[in-house]
């Protein structure tokens, strides 16, 4: 049974999202339009639900959601929306959102699925098409396991075909300070076996096997994967899928799944502007759950996949939860507390500004943060582009000031401005702009302190 008040509740619960991406935004926008339209209607009827679901259908198709999945999804949403309880509801827009969200969560796999941890060592194998991001994901996952669970991972180079694939893994290993097992261009099956023996002797917790990219229709290479699978019996076989994949995704997934007992998927390159419909289809079509998503090129750019959070995000409800989690990981709590206190006491100066900026920089691109705010797309914030260079310029300007100037920006007059501008190689007008913005910020902080500032959502 669907209760309207419950639905109203969750837009203020402010669920979800994460560090790197636009994925799903445009999808969200289109769905949002459909939802707004529905809000305009007094109640859900056969004819207006047809109109709305047509929009939803187009939105999903444009997002590369599998054609068959779209069909089923629409049928299911329609059926639920026309259900008795809903038909009586006075708030069809809210009810419709609730239905969409529930169906999306269902489609995305319901509960979050964790990585298996069995025996010593746990063997993981990455498979996928060429260029889907296997090697990078291997590095990221090893880093994730070490950081989050304090485990010792061993990376294994079994891509003996692509030129320099072994070098790539070795470089990642060096960068992360994680050991890489390799035997050059030998037999991948033997390399995998030797690596597992090596890991047992040396007490590694996880063995991550990097395999060569291959087409799902390449029988010889598929055979090789089967042999590795039989030889080392991995606890998990993870399919790495590029989130930009179109309708062919289903052929790829089924091709691999047919040959190997896949246990999960990693969705890569979600920091692009892809609407990632493949994500919405994998689980539903094959029952293979998505376990991780890749959200940046950096080695910490891998996140666990939460169907619920993703669904809220698709619907433009923001993803504060992931944002907070991410912030907790990277922000220096003491520093942040210090700034916050000074902010509250009205003593915030450019020194604090600089330290805050450094903290914010750790959060990754700012536009990604903005997008996690609930209602960001409605406020027109999703297309905000912030050039990290501009941040660097601001930093340079502040660093060209004397400590005295930073603490008392009001003493900065014409000649000081010129000196600062020269010192950092920027224009005087830029120095002016920064000082003006800083003033405005202080006014805002005062308002916040007095409780007069209302956030726009």
């Amino acid at each position: 049974m669907i209760k309207t008040d419950e639905t109203l509740g969750f837009s203020s619960v402010l669920l979800y999202n994460n560090n790197g991406d636009n994925m799903f935004e445009s999808l969200g926008e289109r769905l949002q339009n459909a939802i707004d339209k529905m809000r305009g209607y007094g109640k859900i009827t056969e004819s207006n639900i047809d109109e709305i679901t047509r929009e939803v259908r187009l939105a999903l198709l444009e997002a590369d959601v599998n054609y068959k999945v779209v069909k089923e999804f629409i049928a299911s949403v329609k059926e639920k929306a026309l259900g008795e309880e809903v038909a009586k509801s006075l708030k069809p827009g809210e009810v419709f959102v609730k239905i969409l969200k529930d169906e999306l969560v269902e489609l995305l796999g319901g509960e979050k699925k964790d990585l298996v941890m069995d025996g010593k060592p746990t063997i993981l194998m990455m498979v996928g098409l060429q260029g889907s991001g296997k090697t990078t994901s291997n590095g990221k996952l090893a880093n994730f396991l070490r950081k989050k669970y304090h485990k010792r991972p061993l990376l294994v180079a079994c891509d003996v075909y692509r030129p320099a694939a072994i070098d790539q893994l070795k470089q990642l290993g060096r960068e992360l300070n994680i050991e890489v097992y390799e035997e050059g261009e030998g037999d991948p099956v033997l390399i995998a076996q030797h690596a597992v023996e090596y890991a047992k002797e040396n007490k590694f917790d996880y063995v991550l096997i990097d395999t060569a990219g291959r087409l799902h229709i390449d029988e010889a290479l598929m055979e090789e994967l089967k042999r590795i699978n039989e030889a080392v019996k991995p606890a998990e076989i993870l399919l790495v899928v590029d989130s930009m994949t179109g309708q062919d995704a289903i052929n790829v997934i089924e091709g691999f799944n047919h040959n190997l007992p896949l246990t999960g998927a990693i969705l890569t390159k979600l920091d692009g502007d892809t609407r990632g419909g493949a994500a919405l289809s994998i689980r539903h079509l094959t029952n293979v759950p998505i376990k991780f998503v890749g959200v940046s090129e950096k080695m910490d750019g891998l996140q666990e996949f939460y169907p619920e959070r993703m669904a809220t995000r698709i619907l433009g409800m923001g993803d504060i939860l992931t944002m907070v989690e991410h912030a907790e990981e990277v922000i220096d709590q003491d520093e942040a507390m210090k700034s916050a206190k000074r902010m509250q006491s009205g003593k915030f100066d450019l020194e604090d500004f600089l330290s805050t900026m450094k903290q914010i920089k750790k959060l990754g691109p700012l536009e990604n943060l903005i997008k996690m705010l609930p209602g960001a797309s409605k406020m027109g914030l999703t297309n905000v582009k912030i050039d990290p260079k501009e941040m660097a310029h601001i930093e340079a300007i502040i660093l060209s000031m004397t400590p005295e100037e930073r603490r008392h920006p009001e003493i900065i007059k014409a000649s000081r401005k010129q000196r600062i501008a020269k010192g950092c190689g920027r224009d005087v007008s830029e120095v002016n702009r920064l000082l003006k913005q800083f003033e405005q910020m202080k006014v805002m902080m005062k308002k916040m302190k007095n409780g007069n500032l209302k956030l726009p959502f």
């Binding site: 692509r162 694939a165 470089q171 590029d242 062919d248 890569t268 493949a278």
Partner: protein, 334 residues
């Protein structure tokens, strides 16, 4: 009727060279075609009349080929109008029109040339851009081999200074094709490019192929970096780059349109290179890209071997997709 016959004619011309080319397309697109075509054939077998159910199913087939939602919707509309206007009732006649209209989408009254724009005085500079993992470096390797066979002096520049192993990968291709590679550790890509182009001028290279790091089109800073590279190239060799290729994976869905638009804003993309077309992917997105952004495809990758990179030929591509349909028409078997 024109275009439909044209397809058949393509395969009537049979010099040995041409036949070889045709066979290669045929073979490379085999998997691509199989599913797509059997669906279309089934469609005309199942439906004896042209009605809404027929169009719905056709829409499904085209969308499954990643041809692009808007392109498909427009296409179906146009088809419906033609059916009405020309009073078409036979499903077999319609198949012919489908191929015809498909062709029109791509060609759009333009003369499409897939000739490479070569620099007559000095090195011809080609820049390769695209998102991560599409096969830029591999494509450069294959093209280098092609140009070497034509007796050209080829220089490779490792402008991907970001991804681990990228430089080594290009150097390996340099060995295989016997072409020197200009690279620098931990350097700004523009500075590597500058060095490379100076070398190319000094040593009178014919072709200079520049690899760049994969970049997602919504990353402002990376796109700015690309802009800078472009400026440096134009400064060292006026008029360069002579070709800027957007390399795209054939499995790409609707995001391909966004890629084409965003890269086009920063650089003058002169053509698309569609890679990995030897899988089951149809690469239909190139039709939508040609229609909406106007960028033609210049090469396609039909396999892992270096000779599997082919000059794109729209007629052969569409024929490849619709081959069984055409063959069936003539009562011939594949």
């Amino acid at each position: 009727m024109g275009l439909f016959d044209k397809f058949k004619n393509i395969f009537g011309t049979k010099t040995v060279e041409e036949q070889k080319e045709v066979d290669l397309y045929d073979h490379g697109l085999e998997k691509t075609r199989k599913e797509f075509n059997s669906k279309l054939t089934m469609l005309s077998k199942r439906h004896h009349s042209i009605d809404q159910a027929y169009f719905d199913e056709l829409e499904e087939i085209l969308i499954m080929a990643d041809i692009g939602v808007n392109t498909v919707m427009d296409f179906i509309d146009r088809l419906k109008k033609r059916v009405k206007k020309e009073n078409i009732i036979d499903v077999d006649d319609l198949r012919e029109i489908i191929v015809d209209e498909m062709f029109i989408i791509y060609v759009n009254n333009e003369v499409i040339s897939n000739k490479i724009n070569e620099n007559s005085d000095g090195p011809t500079v080609m820049l390769f851009v695209g998102v991560n993992g599409v096969g830029k470096t591999t494509t450069i390797g294959k093209l280098a081999a092609k140009f070497k066979e034509q007796g050209k002096k080829v220089l490779l520049i490792a402008g991907d200074t970001f991804r681990a192993g990228a430089v080594e990968q290009l150097i390996e291709w340099g060995h295989r094709t016997d072409s020197p590679v200009i690279s620098k550790e931990n350097a700004d890509p523009s500075s590597v490019i500058y060095d490379g182009l100076e070398e190319a001028k000094r040593e009178h290279y014919d072709m200079v192929l520049i690899d760049t790091a994969g970049r997602l089109q919504n990353k402002t800073n990376l796109m700015n970096e690309l802009d800078k590279m472009n400026k440096v190239i134009g400064k060292v060799i006026p008029g360069a780059p002579h070709e800027t290729f957007l390399v795209m994976d054939a499995t790409t869905g609707q995001n391909g349109i966004s890629q084409a638009k965003s890269f086009q804003e920063i650089t003058n993309i002169t053509g698309i290179i569609l890679t990995k077309l030897d899988g089951t992917a149809k690469g239909g997105i190139v039709l939508a890209i040609k229609e909406s952004v106007g960028i033609p495809v210049k090469y396609i990758g039909l396999g892992e071997k270096k000779e599997d990179l082919r000059t794109f030929d729209i007629e052969k591509y569409i024929y490849g997709l619709f081959k069984d349909l055409v063959g069936d028409q003539n009562g011939k078997e594949d």
